[in-house]
């Protein structure tokens, strides 16, 4: 029984098939990587899973439960968290506030008790604060705790976004290009964190990535996409030596392309 299953999903924007009959499943505890040239539909698949876009056809199943038509704000509560390619943090809030927003799907107190800030709200806030501090300690973000995101360097923001996703206590984590914009050391660090997330926290990861070193370092299985279609799936080395994948990245001969 796989943890996550995408069953023949497609999405069309006008005449363009951004994702075309893609099927894959992810086992619990693995790191599943999606690669492909620009415009292959990798991020679109993430947007379909986080329900920002609706699938034209196909089914999405998580832990045996179909969520093809679940509203986007319920996805985090189901245990699927994501990061964004271009960083979508809340820049005018502090790091602490950003991570606390990550706890949103676990809040239980009612609106009226929040208005009066009853002891129940205070207790819950303290509980969430402790959970957030665990993540801060895990990622070593202590010294930035009270800084505004707008004042933080890019590399740190990337880690904060990972932290915010971890604060939702996900079972499945979607990482959209975790290494984009990072230098070599930062990318290496990101790789270690992804391994820790998998081993220590037991979180399953689906990742879109261009950096092949990082892909080789962390992923168990790789899926290659081109023009919205799956062209190869298997272990990292299998996929990288697949003739279709090489053609997609380096170009085939002209007659075939035409």
């Amino acid at each position: 029984m796989s943890m996550f299953q995408a069953d023949d999903i497609s999405v069309r924007f006008g005449g363009i098939r951004a994702v075309d009959s893609v099927s894959f499943d992810v086992q619990e505890g693995e790191v599943f990587c999606i690669i492909g040239p620009n415009g292959a539909g990798k991020t679109t698949i993430f947007n379909l899973i986080s329900r920002i876009y609706s699938t034209t056809s196909g089914r999405l199943v998580f832990n045996g439960q179909e969520f093809t038509h679940t509203p986007p704000d319920r996805i985090a509560g189901m245990g699927i968290a994501r990061t964004f390619q271009n960083i979508e943090l809340f820049p005018n809030a502090t790091l602490l506030q950003n991570l606390l927003i990550g706890r949103h799907c676990h809040h239980k107190v009612g609106f009226l008790s929040q208005m009066a800030f009853l002891p129940s709200v205070r207790r819950e806030e303290l509980h969430h604060r402790e959970k957030v501090e665990d993540v801060i300690a895990f990622l070593g973000l202590q010294r930035y705790r009270d800084s505004l995101i707008a004042n933080l360097p890019y590399g740190v923001r990337k880690v904060v976004e990972l932290g915010r996703a971890l604060c939702t206590e996900p079972k499945l984590l979607l990482l959209d290009e975790p290494s984009s914009g990072l230098n070599v050391e930062e990318t290496e660090g990101m790789g270690f964190w992804i391994e820790d997330i998998k081993k220590d926290l037991g979180i399953t990861v689906i990742m879109v990535e261009h950096d092949m070193a990082l892909v080789n370092q962390v992923s168990d299985r790789v899926m290659a996409l081109n023009y919205g279609k799956v062209i190869a799936m298997g272990s990292p080395s299998e996929v990288q030596s697949h003739p279709e994948v090489i053609k997609a990245y380096l170009g085939g001969d002209l007659e075939e392309a035409a």
């Binding site: 208005m115 800030f117 707008a150």
Partner: protein, 358 residues
């Protein structure tokens, strides 16, 4: 520079950062309580008006400064609160019941306007709320057997525990109590999940959504709370002006409210108070210098609205953090004396420039 050493997460949940802050706010409260006994009637009246505008300012601040939505129709909410309160009082309902009803009913109206405009933002939302404002204004004019149309009507005297509160001092204390109540609610919401959800929506809707925030719910709620607070201000405003007529709730008033929020400084409750003080003081300031201005500038019609517009533009251009930002810089200057420099308050933009995608 003073540092707050924290030893407990609880310290971050309190309304005040330190006992020192607690002391200053307590002192301010005592001063405000004794003020009517010291100041003349004119100043007490002006302060009362300031409190009423500050109540509406706090309401609008939650919507504009924290949720990132805009409204050019808040004068209408003020009007709805004012008329609800006054009409119910005329029916003989006691003031301690009409005041909360005015707030709650206006809040419901706010939710009703918030709901259909969910998908709008920026200019489009401004236009929609502007239209809402003028529709409500027309209702005030035409629904004559309730509102008295253009003729208006005198607002009945409010009684609290048998004491009439129609004098300046009564309105002063009433407004002060409501302002403190509204500030307390706003501060509570802002340190709760709801306030954080609002900030999240303001900064990035798409990621707010993927963190599990229901956009429709929280935006509607923001509109409702904002309108409700403005409705409370309206109920007080009715007693402040003593005579309700529809022309009091025009677009210019909505612009004044927006000025409160922007001049005060987006995203700060203190800013709402400072902004309200500015908006109430500017007309007085104009009145004082009006006769001494050269070339008959003082006699020009529309001097006040154009000055409001000019100030609004200048603040947005040169002081985006508003009066609150100026206050914080001023405070930092004293705390760091003599080390404060011009660049100290400047945000570090160097990282942002090196970013690939922005």
């Amino acid at each position: 520079m003073r540092h707050f050493f924290r030893t407990d997460y609880r310290q971050d949940l309190g309304l005040y950062k330190s006992n020192r802050e607690r002391f200053w706010y307590a002192l301010l409260l005592v001063l405000l309580i004794v003020a009517p006994m010291i100041l003349g009637e004119f100043y007490v009246g002006e302060l009362g008006g300031l409190f009423i505008f500050a109540v509406a300012g706090v309401g609008l601040m939650l919507l504009v400064g924290y949720t990132g939505l805009i409204s050019l129709g808040h004068a209408a909410f003020l009007g709805i609160g004012a008329y609800t309160n006054a009409v119910l009082l005329k029916q003989g309902v006691p003031f301690l019941i009409t005041l909360p009803i005015a707030g709650i009913f206006t809040g419901i109206c706010g939710a009703a306007i918030g709901r259909p405009t969910l998908r709008m933002s920026g200019l489009y939302l401004a236009i929609a709320t502007l239209a809402f404002g003028s529709i409500v204004g027309t209702i005030f004019q035409k629904w004559e057997h309730v509102t008295g149309g253009f003729d208006g009507f005198a607002v009945p005297t409010p009684y609290v525990f048998g004491i009439p509160l129609d004098n300046t001092t009564g309105i002063y204390y009433m407004s002060l109590v409501v302002l403190i109540f509204v500030m307390w609610i706003a501060a509570n919401l802002l340190r709760s999940p709801t306030g954080r959800a609002w900030v999240a929506i303001r900064d990035s809707e798409v990621s707010a959504q993927s963190m599990g925030i229901n956009l429709a719910r929280y935006k509607t709620m923001s509109f409702a709370i904002s309108a409700g607070m403005t409705g409370l201000a309206g109920a007080l405003f009715a007693h402040y002006v003593r005579f309700l007529a529809p022309d009091a709730f025009d677009v210019l008033l909505s612009v004044q409210f927006i000025t409160i929020v922007f001049v005060g400084g987006l995203g700060s409750l203190r800013g709402a108070i400072l902004g309200a003080a500015f908006v109430r003081l500017l007309p007085q300031g104009i009145a004082i210098v009006r006769d001494d201005l050269p070339f008959g500038i003082g006699r020009l019609p529309g001097l006040e609205p154009s000055l409001f517009g000019l100030v609004l533009v200048l603040v947005i251009l040169f002081q985006p953090a508003g009066l609150n930002g100026m206050w914080l810089k001023f405070k930092a200057w004293f705390q760091q004396y003599p080390f404060k420099r011009m660049v100290s308050g400047r945000r570090q933009k160097s990282y942002a420039k090196s970013e690939r995608l922005r």
